[in-house]
Symmetry: C2
Amino acid sequence: MAFMSTDNLKKITMADVAREAGVSTMTVSRALNKANVVSAATLSKIQKAVDDLGYVLDQSAGSLSSRKTGFVAAIIPSINNSNFSETAHGITKELEKNGLQLLLGYTDYMQEREEELVESLLRRRPEGIIVTGGYHTDKTRRMLHAAAIPVVEMWDLPKQPIQHVVGFSNSRAIEKLVEHLYKEGYRSFCYLGGDDADDTRGQDRLHGYQNQLKKYGLNHERVVEIGQTPLSYEDGSRGIKIALEKWPQTDVIVCVSDLMAFGALVECQRSGWNVPRDIAIAGFGDYELSRNCYPEITTINVDCFGIGSQAAQIICQQIQSHSESEFSNKIIKQPIHILPREST
Amino acid sequence: MAFMSTDNLKKITMADVAREAGVSTMTVSRALNKANVVSAATLSKIQKAVDDLGYVLDQSAGSLSSRKTGFVAAIIPSINNSNFSETAHGITKELEKNGLQLLLGYTDYMQEREEELVESLLRRRPEGIIVTGGYHTDKTRRMLHAAAIPVVEMWDLPKQPIQHVVGFSNSRAIEKLVEHLYKEGYRSFCYLGGDDADDTRGQDRLHGYQNQLKKYGLNHERVVEIGQTPLSYEDGSRGIKIALEKWPQTDVIVCVSDLMAFGALVECQRSGWNVPRDIAIAGFGDYELSRNCYPEITTINVDCFGIGSQAAQIICQQIQSHSESEFSNKIIKQPIHILPREST
DNA sequence: CTGTTAGCGCATTCAG
DNA sequence: CTGAATGCGCTAACAG
C-alpha cells in the first residue's frame, strides 16, 4: 500500500460533501439516510463526493437533531463463559436487523453496580433498556421510569415488573428438576450452590430445591454453599468433595449451574467414582459443554439466545409503535425443559 | 412501591436544572462534569435540583459540543464461548477506569462483515478503535486512516500494521507446541482444524504446524479440516474419528483450539481409548475448561484478558497524550506459554 | 424532488 | 468562581 498522506486530518462534514456535489446539506442527509427520495442523478453525484472525500456520517450529531440515538442499552452480570453471552448475542442479532447499536454494561455479579451502570448508560440516551433480573434499587427504578423509554427485565419473573418481562421462574425450574429426579427414584438429595447472597437467581434456585423436597418430606438440608458468582468448575470439584464427605449416602447432587456440575463430574472421574452409578449429577443451563462431555449431564434447558432476541424484539416494537402503552406490558414466560441425560 | 405518575414525560434539560438551582447552565455543566471549580454552596444547590428533577446528563449533546464522545470501538469475531470474551472483558475493564464506553461489534467470523462494522462504528465517532487480526480490506484501511484516531490490531502480528499492535504469532505458537511434543518423543502427528479459509488465525496455526514438522522431516500431511468457525466440541469429536480411521498409527493430535481438543478427548472416553496412553491430545488457548477436565489438556496459553486490557491501555494513552505520534507506534508482542499437562 | 431556516442540548471561549 | 454568547454537525419542518 502506498504511503498515506497525513493531510486531510481536518474533519470532513456534510457541508463539504454538499459543496463537492453541488447540492444542499439536506439533500446529502436524505441521500445518506437511505430515504429513497433523492433523484438517481443527484444520488450518484453525492455518492461520488462521499467516496472522494472519504466522508462518514456523524451519527452523534444526527441523533441530537433527530432525538433518536439508535442505541439500546443492556445490563448483564457477565459475558465470560456464561449463559448471558448467548443472551447478549441474541440481543445484538435482533438489534442489528433494526439498525440499532447495543450498549452493553456488566455488573460482574455485583448487584450494587447496576445503579451506576444504569445512570451512565442513560446518559447516552438509549431508546430502550434491558436489565437482568427483577431486583433493583429504588433509585434505579426511579431512573428507569424517568427515562420514559421501553424497559425489559429478563431472566426472571419479577413480582413487580417495571414494564416488560422475558424470563422464567428459576425456583420453578429446579422444582421440576427435583420432581423428575424423584420420579426416577432418587431419594437422597444434595445441593451445590454459591455462597453469594447477591446472586438472587441462585437463591431462587435453592428455594425451589428446598420447596420441592419438603413436598416429598425428604431431607432438604444437605446444601453446600461454596464460591462466589460466577461459579465455575473448581467450585463444583471442591463442593462435591465436601458434600460426599459429609453425606456419603447421597445418591444425587443438584448443582446451581452446569459449570459446577461439570466440575463435580470431573472430580468423580479423578476419584474413580462412577457417574451415575455411584453418584448422579444434574446441572442447570444446558451449556454446550454438558451435552458434549462424558457422561452427558442431565440439566435444565432455557433458551438463552431466545431470551435476548425476544427482549430486543419487544424494545424494537415499542420504539416503532411509539405508543405510551402503559397497558400493553408484555410478560413473556419462557419455557423450561428438563433434559434427562447420562449423568442421572 | 406507590403508583408512578406519568406526568413529567417531557425531557428535562440542563436549563431546567439551572433555573431550579438559580444558576446558569454553564455552572450546572461544570458541576456535573466533576470539575471542582464550583463553590460548595452552589454545588449542593445544583445537586438538590438534579435529584428533585431526576435529571440525567445528556452525553450525546455534550459530546457534539466537546468533540469527545467517550466511545471506543472494538471488533471481535464472536463473544460466545471463545477466548475473545476474555479479551472483551479486558477492554471493558480498562476503558471503565478512564470513563470510556465500549462499542462492540461482532463479525461472527465473517471477514467480510468487518468493513461494514467499521463504517457503522465510525459513525459513532469513537475516540479509538480496536480490531482483531491483521487482514483488512483496502476500504477498511482507508476508513481507519481517515478517521484519524488511534487504531490497535490485536491477536496477531500483522506484517503491515496500521498503527499499534498487541498480539502474538499464531504460527510460532504452534511451532513451539510441536517442538515440545517432539522433545517428549512424539513422532506421528496429526492436525485437527477448521475448513474455513476466512479464519486467518486458524490458517496461520496450520502453517506453523506444518513448518515445524518439515523441519523434523516428519509427515505433515495428516490434516483433518472439519467445521466452520467457531469450531467446537462436535467438530473435535467428528474430527478425531476421521483422523484415527485414516491414520491409526497417529500418536498425538494437535487441535486448533481447546474446544476441539476437548471434543476429541470426550470421543476417546466414549470409545474406551486411553488418553494419553493410546493417543495424546493437545489444544490451543488455555480455556478454563482444559485445566479442569480429566485428563487435563496440554495447551498453549495466551493472555486473552491481557491482550484486551493492553490494547485498551494504548488507546487511552493515545487519547490523553493527543500526540499525532506517527512515529510512536507500539508493537506489543504477547508471551506464549506451552502448558504440558496430562493429555500428552 | 430539493432548498431554507431553525434548533437539538450541551461545552468552549471569553469576559467579568 | 460564574455568566453570556456562540456553535458543534446534523435533521425536522416547512416551503417551493
